[in-house]
């Protein structure tokens, strides 16, 4: 029987897939709506592409997690606990999200794109709260994971949006670059706060090791690289169109790496601990022990 925290085995890459698909999809749906609403990014076809892909991503995420549940034929039971379960809440938002998204796609944007974006924001929030409610996993239950998961969803959405816009129209909207840059900076901040808080409060050593290894790669390729590209994009204006989609791709992949790592690699459980070592017959108890923890 293990004592030190060990990696949970209940949620694997499939669960990470839901956070990746759901986060990126909802983020994209929000940026699709923003683009559409402001008519900044051109024709309705752009919205359709973006929103369509967004819904596919969210659906893929749900399909991924559906593949993980033990009793798929009872999947509808997932709706039974909206009182406290963020999983139920996420599931309840989903049909409305798909419905409004589908209508918005049919209409090529408009009011329903706003409704879909708001529902997407709700869905993204549910996901962030869902992981934070998993009290058994120290790297998840840290409340600062909520802003991190929300902001990375937005970053991924903006990144994807930039990619699609570039593919569709060969343009690189300056506003999108600016928004993505701001979002990236916020993500850097959210990550830093999350990571440092976890280190400060104490966590399973192995989880911290995983996050420490992630940090270098994530901050280099998922943060610094796109940030520099975006600064360059803003500086060069529209002359270097490739800069924004490239930054978007890096920001997107960085977000996926972040979530995959946190969900499927840093998910060491609580393990066991003793606040005090028992007295055996006579003598004194000893100070407690929390094996495998940083503090």
């Amino acid at each position: 029987m293990k004592i030190k925290p060990w990696h949970q085995t209940n949620w694997d890459a499939r669960a990470a897939g839901n956070f990746i698909g759901g986060g990126s999809g909802t983020g994209l749906l929000i940026f699709a709506a923003l683009s559409n609403l402001a008519a900044l990014a051109g024709p309705a076809a752009d919205y359709r592409w973006q929103a369509g892909l967004a819904l596919v991503l969210v659906a893929a995420g749900l399909a991924s997690v559906f593949a993980e549940i033990g009793r798929p034929f009872r999947a509808l039971n997932v709706f039974l606990h909206p009182h406290t379960s963020w999983m139920t809440r996420e599931a309840m938002v989903a049909p409305f999200l798909f419905g409004s998204g589908a209508v918005a796609i049919c209409l090529g944007g408009g009011l329903f794109s706003v409704v879909a974006a708001l529902l997407a924001a709700g869905y993204l929030y549910c996901q962030a709260r869902m992981i934070a409610a998993a009290k058994g996993i120290p790297a998840w239950r840290e409340p600062r994971i909520i802003p991190l998961f929300i902001i990375t969803g937005l970053v991924e959405g903006a990144g994807l949006s930039a990619l699609i816009v570039a593919a569709q129209s060969g343009t690189a909207p300056r506003w999108l670059a600016a928004v993505l840059l701001v979002a990236l900076i916020l993500r850097r901040l959210a990550w830093k706060i999350y990571h440092e808080t976890l280190e400060r409060r104490g966590a399973p050593k192995k989880a911290l090791e995983v996050l420490a290894r992630l940090r270098g790669r994530f901050e280099r390729y998922g943060q610094s690289l796109p940030e520099m590209l975006l600064v360059a994009a803003l500086f060069f204006r529209s002359e270097q169109v490739w800069l924004l989609p490239l930054a978007g791709a890096a920001a997107l992949l960085g977000g996926w790496l972040l979530k995959f790592t946190i969900v499927a690699r840093a998910a060491y459980n609580q393990g066991f601990a003793l606040p005090v070592v028992p007295v055996r017959g006579q003598g004194q108890g000893m100070p407690g022990v929390k094996p495998g923890w940083s503090k």
């Binding site: 029987m1 004592i3 379960s85 869902m130 998993a134 009290k135 066991f272 070592v277 108890g285």
Partner: protein, 215 residues
């Protein structure tokens, strides 16, 4: 009000795993699925070293994170404090398992019997398909606790209505009873001893008390 709890006197525990074996058998859990087990925790540095044996399992929390996250209401809390799972409702999403800070929940997707894929007579007799691919955990031997109401017996006193692990314990480590009843064995033990609850700082209000010294 009733709140059933369990106490484990760590001064007494020797890690014999009798409770583990008894639970495995009474609840017919598959090989490797231990609703009750006893940890062997070493602490200190040579030569000032201690080994503590610590029974663990579902803590039947007063504020159970597993229940809050469960999307199906399969995990529920009874008025008497027991946290239970409705196997017919559970979808096996595993959310409760990652929400539990006590690593107490198990989901068995594929069963390996003790010696092969073919069950022995005792395994066939007790195999329960309802428990496949759903979350399972210690029930505090709910069926026994419920039987107490029917036949006027007292859980924690009469073995017929006491959890198997408590009945089996050969070192007098485990006790079970109603914390709200000042005359119950567990209430008296808590009154007389110093104790803690594991990971109490997480706010789960666990129903499992670890005794470590006299008062």
């Amino acid at each position: 009000m009733t709140r059933y709890i369990m106490t484990a006197d760590l001064r007494r525990c020797i890690g014999c795993q009798t409770c583990t074996a008894s639970c495995r058998q009474t609840n017919a859990t598959p090989p490797g699925v231990q609703w009750r087990s006893v940890l062997d925790i070493e602490s200190g540095e040579f030569p000032d070293v201690r080994r503590s044996f610590v029974p663990v399992g579902c803590q039947h929390c007063g504020d159970p994170p597993c229940m809050h996250v469960c999307p199906t209401t399969a995990t529920y809390q009874r008025a008497d404090g027991l946290v239970e799972i409705d196997y017919e409702k559970c979808i096996g999403c595993g959310y409760c398992a990652v929400a539990c800070p006590y690593q107490a929940r198990h989901i068995t997707r594929r069963i390996d019997f003790a010696y092969s894929a073919t069950p022995m007579a005792n395994e066939s007799a007790r195999f329960d398909e309802r428990r496949m691919s759903v979350a399972t955990k210690c029930t505090f031997c709910m069926d026994r606790v419920d039987a107490a109401k029917e036949n006027g017996l007292t859980p924690g006193v009469d073995p017929e209505v006491t959890p198997a692990c408590v009945n089996s314990c050969i070192a007098g480590v485990l006790a079970f009873g109603d914390k709200e009843d000042p005359n119950s064995k567990v209430s008296k033990l808590l009154e007389e001893t110093q104790h803690f609850r594991m990971h109490e700082e997480l706010g789960t209000d666990p129903g499992f008390y670890y005794i470590w010294d006299k008062k």
